[in-house]
């Protein structure tokens, strides 16, 4: 059952160390306020799954030492450039990167959503990704004739962690067109969602809103965190470009990152 918790501290308490945590890309619904709470609680060993690519959130968590591995199709800070803490952690051998390609992450989550062990996927053949991803198998398409096809195993995160506009008292969560959040929630064992607000009206009763709503059936924790995606843009909030820029510049060095982090956590 969905539980609405009162504080972010409570909210992140059950995102235990070593959890496999699925996170959305910067343009979707990133739980930044919860990320801060995770760092404050000293989370360690998180195995991130970026759906399908990562940005500020992952870079910040990596810099803070919370992350053991990240499965991702890519990572950068968008118009703000490369992800400096990620690059640094790799070069220091402190981060395991599980390289993917965007549709493979989506397919792996869809396989988990459907309760099947794998999903076939076209393309990818000839890529060195097949060399570094032995879990991606190539079989002969049973419906073809000498037709190799890649299989992607199911990705079953322990937790899907994201931010959304609105929840209701039954734990239904409105995500609108950001359906990758719904797939994440279906695929993950549990879903933790921060929201701008909680509605007293059941979201599923409104036919327009229902179409973009994840049923409470899949949602385990909800916490109200207004502006919980800041400084990233969200909905009509254009985000805080200056803050993002400050991060990108600061995080270029370990010292700059430490200083930025101290300020963020203060």
């Amino acid at each position: 059952m969905s539980t609405i918790v009162q504080t972010l501290t409570e909210f992140v308490a059950d995102i235990v160390d070593d959890s496999r945590v699925a996170i959305p890309p910067d343009y979707s619904g990133v739980a930044m306020a919860a990320t801060r709470a995770l760092i404050l609680r000293g989370a360690r060993g998180l195995r991130l799954v970026a759906v399908p690519q990562a940005g500020f959130q992952a870079d910040i968590l990596i810099g803070a030492g919370c992350v053991a591995s990240i499965e991702t199709a890519g990572i950068n800070l968008g118009e703000y450039g490369l992800a400096p803490r990620y690059t640094d952690a790799i070069q220091r051998g402190e981060l395991r990167v599980i390289d993917a390609t965007c549709p493979a992450v989506h397919a792996g989550l869809q396989a988990a959503e459907k309760g099947i062990p794998f999903m076939p996927l076209r393309g990818i053949l000839g890529s060195d990704l097949l060399r570094v991803r032995p879990d991606w198998r190539v079989i002969d398409n049973p419906y073809g004739d000498h037709d190799p096809i890649v299989l992607i195993p199911a990705i079953r995160p322990d937790i899907a962690l994201f931010h959304a506009a609105c929840a209701d008292r039954d734990g239904n969560v409105w995500v609108g067109v950001r359906r990758e959040l719904m797939t994440m929630a279906h695929a993950a064992a549990r879903s933790f969602v921060t929201v701008e607000s909680v509605s007293d009206r059941n979201l599923l009763e409104d036919p327009a809103l229902a179409a973009g709503t994840i049923p409470g059936l899949y949602i385990d924790r909800v916490c109200v965190a207004p502006g919980g995606m800041r400084p990233l843009p969200f909905g009509d909030d254009a985000g805080d470009a200056a803050a993002l820029s400050t991060y990108a510049r600061g995080a270029a060095s370990p010292e700059g990152y430490a200083q930025w982090l101290a300020g963020w956590l203060a």
Partner: protein
Amino acid sequence: MARRLARMSAYTDEELMAVTMARLLADSQHVAVGALSPLPATAALLARARRPGLRVTILGSRHHNPFTDGGRELFDCAAQGRIDTFFLSGAQIDGQANINLVGTGDYAKPTKRFPGSFGSAYLYSLVKTVILFKPEHTPRVLVPRVEFVSAAGVSPPHEYRPGGPRHLVTGRALFDFAQGRFTLKSVHPGQTVEDIVRETGFDFDRGAVGATPPPSGDELALLRGVVRREVADTYPRFAAKAFGV
């Protein structure tokens, strides 16, 4: 890149590349542009400004992104054959059109680590026409052999591959790609064929090499008007510096 070159051209390097890429979209009905691709977005929006029937999908845009089935829809749509043209780049590109977006040196301990393959390993095979673009045209990026194949330029004949690379637009030239080889088609204003040979780390064919036509007055007017405004919607930082006045 945005600074005017010494030749004092009446257009920026970005404008020339965008115009050159836009001209390659004449046969396309649906052009899609990935995230963090301001130059292809500019090219696609220019092509659309000249041909309003053209469908342009720009990931990350609020107005040019019609998808409603989550992050996977672009990829599903590509596999369905509903996208005619896509754009890809590479930290390294080699003469077989392999692209590297992962890193150099040993994979386990890279000398240089790039952001990652994103959708390239998939879209490169499935979208009918992929246009490669790379502003930097030096032997550092145009290499004999990439150190990691994010996406392969060519495939054995029995492999399912409805699409692949067809063109490469750089800051210096336009190449076509067919039968596993690049062919130099035209050099940009201020470049010679010898410049291209010297700055290209891989071997390529030469037919009748032309001169890349500079942006026309019409093209520049569109670029600096409606296209710049549309691009700024998704890429404000790019739009602020890439266009001439």
